[in-house]
């Protein structure tokens, strides 16, 4: 075989070197694809319907793949949490003992307040807030950019999820639904740079807007009474936008870089389950395509 061919010392035949970096075809294809990417970015920016269609269609294809592939990632997450738990078990027990004592005092106070509130409600003939039903799904992929904070969950239209619904986990508010597929949905996390959430702060219930700035510490803006805000104050959703329910816990206030920022209650890096609250506010119906009739009454969208 191959008479006259002398193999180099490592036994590999050296193939004729391809022209490095060269090739007009390669350059043309590369430039065309870069141009196509830029066009896609522009279409995304203007929220073109093609991009929405492509995204919706891709949900159905990508979600099952991500759901299966995310199993080992979830396992690793749990394993790491368990390992972290073992490492500081003694400190954790001490912390829980202290917290338990503090909570027992709060429990006593809360029971007193509950009785008091019920009496006032009876006097005012106030209507009870209806509880929200919800559906819980697993996070199967999450955003990978400092400025885009979103997550993909494995429940969608089939489970009754609609754009605009609030998303929470056991720690508090997480974000809202911005895209829905049949069996998956995209959550815009409140720390995303495009997120603006109306909130109320502290016992004075100072109303303000919480603006996501991408680094996990959203900024408080448009607070009419900044003097009434102090570090440590609790931040809750105010429901002023007519989209989100009122009173979902978001985090607490810190002062940093001459601004009030919010330290989220939810550890955004470690969200594995998320619940979608089925809170259909009138504002949400309008946002999803409902209209207002000539007499001012609300006309819901035809298809939900």
């Amino acid at each position: 075989m191959l008479a006259g061919t002398v193999l180099p010392h490592d036994g590999f035949i050296r193939l004729p070197a391809r022209k490095r970096g060269g090739g007009i075809l390669h350059a043309a294809v590369l430039l065309s694809l870069i141009f196509a990417s830029l066009v896609l970015l522009v279409l995304e920016r203007v929220d073109h319907k093609w991009v929405r269609v492509l995204r919706s269609a891709s949900f159905e294809v990508i979600s099952p793949v991500l759901e299966r592939a995310s199993q080992p990632a979830i396992y690793v997450q749990h394993l790491r949490r368990r390992f972290d738990g073992y490492l500081d078990q003694a400190a954790e027990i001490e912390r829980l003992k202290t917290e338990n004592q503090r909570l027992q005092q709060w429990q006593w106070k809360a029971k007193q307040l509950e009785t008091e509130t019920q009496e006032y409600r009876k006097l005012l003939l106030a209507v009870d807030d209806s509880g929200y039903s919800f559906a819980t799904g697993r996070v199967i992929a999450d955003g990978r950019s400092p400025f885009v904070r979103s997550a993909l969950i494995n429940i969608g239209r089939a489970q009754g999820v609609t754009n605009g619904y609030a998303v929470v986990n056991s720690d508090g508010f997480l974000g809202r639904i911005v895209d829905t597929g049949e069996h998956s949905a995209r959550v815009l996390v409140f720390s995303d740079i495009n997120s603006r959430i109306p909130v109320e702060i502290g016992s004075e219930r100072v109303r303000a807007i919480m603006r996501g700035d991408g680094d996990g510490r959203p900024v408080i803006e448009f607070a009419p009474a900044e003097k009434a805000i102090a570090a440590g104050d609790e931040v809750l959703t105010s429901g002023q936008d007519g989209l989100l329910p009122r009173g979902l816990p978001v985090g607490s206030i810190i002062k940093a870089d001459h601004a009030f920022k919010v330290v989220p209650r939810v550890d955004l890096a470690q969200v594995d389950f998320a619940s979608v609250l089925f809170y259909a506010a009138p504002g949400l119906e309008l946002a999803n395509g409902g209209t207002t009739a000539a007499d001012g009454s609300f006309v819901p969208p035809r298809t939900r």
Binding site: H26, V51, L66, P146, F147, G214, A269
Partner: protein, 177 residues
């Protein structure tokens, strides 16, 4: 035949698996999370330097689109970043060191990461009309650059395997002629 085909498809396959893994919720701290798609970029960069013809630009574009869709980011963002990495690997590295040593390729990769991070920050800041915080972005970029030699070391055996397949195929071709 099948084995050779599999070997030749290895770069696309490995890059796709890394891209998929980079989108999963590992629960890592924020800077590491931001570095994950840049690790996909590191793999793309490695193949673009070593075996450009086996990871064609359309495949890179599709992997970028997949990353955009799976991470629910702006469509075209990662596709553009990955293609910029291919462009730097194809046309930039020979200007730095035509022997393509690990040091030179790491340096070229650092330039590519700096370019895509800078462009990403600039576009996002222009979009918001204010300078966005760049700390997490910088940390993610530094982690990715530090990880490049590890990626190159891990992909070395695969590169040799693909090289062996190509050599064996050439030998058979030469034998027939």
């Amino acid at each position: 035949m099948m084995l050779r085909l599999a070997n030749i498809l290895l770069p696309v396959l490995i890059t796709s698996i890394v891209a998929l893994a980079a989108c999963l919720p590992w629960g890592a701290p924020a800077p590491v999370q931001f570095a994950l798609p840049l690790l996909t970029m590191a793999v793309i960069f490695y193949w673009a330097v070593k075996r450009r013809h086996q990871l064609p630009s359309p495949a890179v574009f599709l992997i970028g689109l997949f990353t955009d869709l799976a991470t629910a980011g702006p469509l075209g963002y990662w596709a553009l970043n990955f293609l910029i990495a291919v462009a730097v690997a194809s046309y930039g590295i020979d200007r730095i060191d035509n022997r393509r040593s690990l040091l030179a390729t790491t340096f070229a990769f650092a330039l590519a990461v700096a370019a895509v991070s800078g462009i990403g920050w600039l576009l996002s800041s222009l979009f918001q009309l204010r300078a966005l915080p760049a700390q997490s972005l910088t940390q993610g970029a530094l982690i990715a650059v530090a990880a490049y030699p590890v990626v190159a070391y891990a992909l070395g055996p695969v590169d040799r395997l693909v090289g062996y397949s190509e050599s064996a195929a050439s030998l058979r071709g030469m034998d027939r002629t």
